[in-house]
Symmetry: C2
Subunit: 190 residues, 2 copies
Amino acid sequence: MARWEPDARGRLMLAALALYTERGYEQTTVADIAQRAGVTERTFFRHFADKREVLFDGSGMLQDTVVAAIAAYKEAPPLDVVGAAMERAAVAMQDRRDFARQRAAIIAATPSLHERELLKLATLGTAAAAALRDRGVPPVAAALAAELGVAVFKVAFEQWITCQLDFPACIRATLDELSALHSPSPAPRP
Amino acid sequence: MARWEPDARGRLMLAALALYTERGYEQTTVADIAQRAGVTERTFFRHFADKREVLFDGSGMLQDTVVAAIAAYKEAPPLDVVGAAMERAAVAMQDRRDFARQRAAIIAATPSLHERELLKLATLGTAAAAALRDRGVPPVAAALAAELGVAVFKVAFEQWITCQLDFPACIRATLDELSALHSPSPAPRP
DNA sequence: GTCTATAGGGCGATAGAC
DNA sequence: GTCTATCGCCCTATAGAC
């Protein structure tokens, strides 16, 4: 028998998700989470910088996916590149809709977690802008296109967890809405 | 002589701005701020919900300006409405560029403050979306247009504090960049 | 793993304005 | 009398230091 149960990190994440749902984020102490995971409080802080971070473990991977997709995409206008990258990220998240929904419910109920989520998305935007610049997109256009990409992601994510469509389809629908916003007249005469 | 000096709130804001600049946000305690303002620590927390909030006193007014501008603007496509509202907000901030720059420097140096700034902008976006819906814009288009408005505001703000242009001009320039992103070919044959 | 400083909330007391 | 701003002290949990 091992000296410690394996995967303390995974148990801490599950315990936090469950407790935040059961009794709310603020009513849950780090000691509670550690106890349910069968480790000490100190161990929690070895794995996660703070009490919020335990819910954001996948955000680094999401960012890597987006950045890689931007770098790899064929020659195209900046907006098409970020659109395709966001769809790619959506594909990677598709099979975790129940988790995403539970997590989103906790975050929506907790301003402090909402803040952290926004920081992660902003960091993703900054990384996306850098990846666009690496493709030769001028700085301001890159910053703007990256922000639009994140905006599309946010709106599409909201759709995804509240309706039946799958995530990539929500991204495509939101990208269509974005185009429509820029040509208010349904069909400019050809 | 009054029992207390008036405007404890204003003194707390000034003291916080000065101390955060002098020695950094994390190296400043609430006790330090309270002491410089001549009140107790407890009084600080009666005026501001937390140590960050003291830097975001104006954000409610900014939001009111944007929402009012959206409600009052003439019949026009959603993107034009938010664009005009952001320009209106920029006009209102124009005369506080030095303050904005000092504040931005503190925020840029402090992830925790960056988080709070993003939350305020997200809240502004939500309010702008609601104001667009009140004008009859469909929900998804409203959410997307509001996000675009905030994106333009962020990019333009960055321009404003790093270059010589005035804020409304930065907004207009960024709105032009936004249009350009959607029509990559310089001039589609008429 | 233990120790400590700080954030931030709860509660009652005080003193001025009205 | 009421209302409101401030104070002071006690408390817990976070998060960093040792």
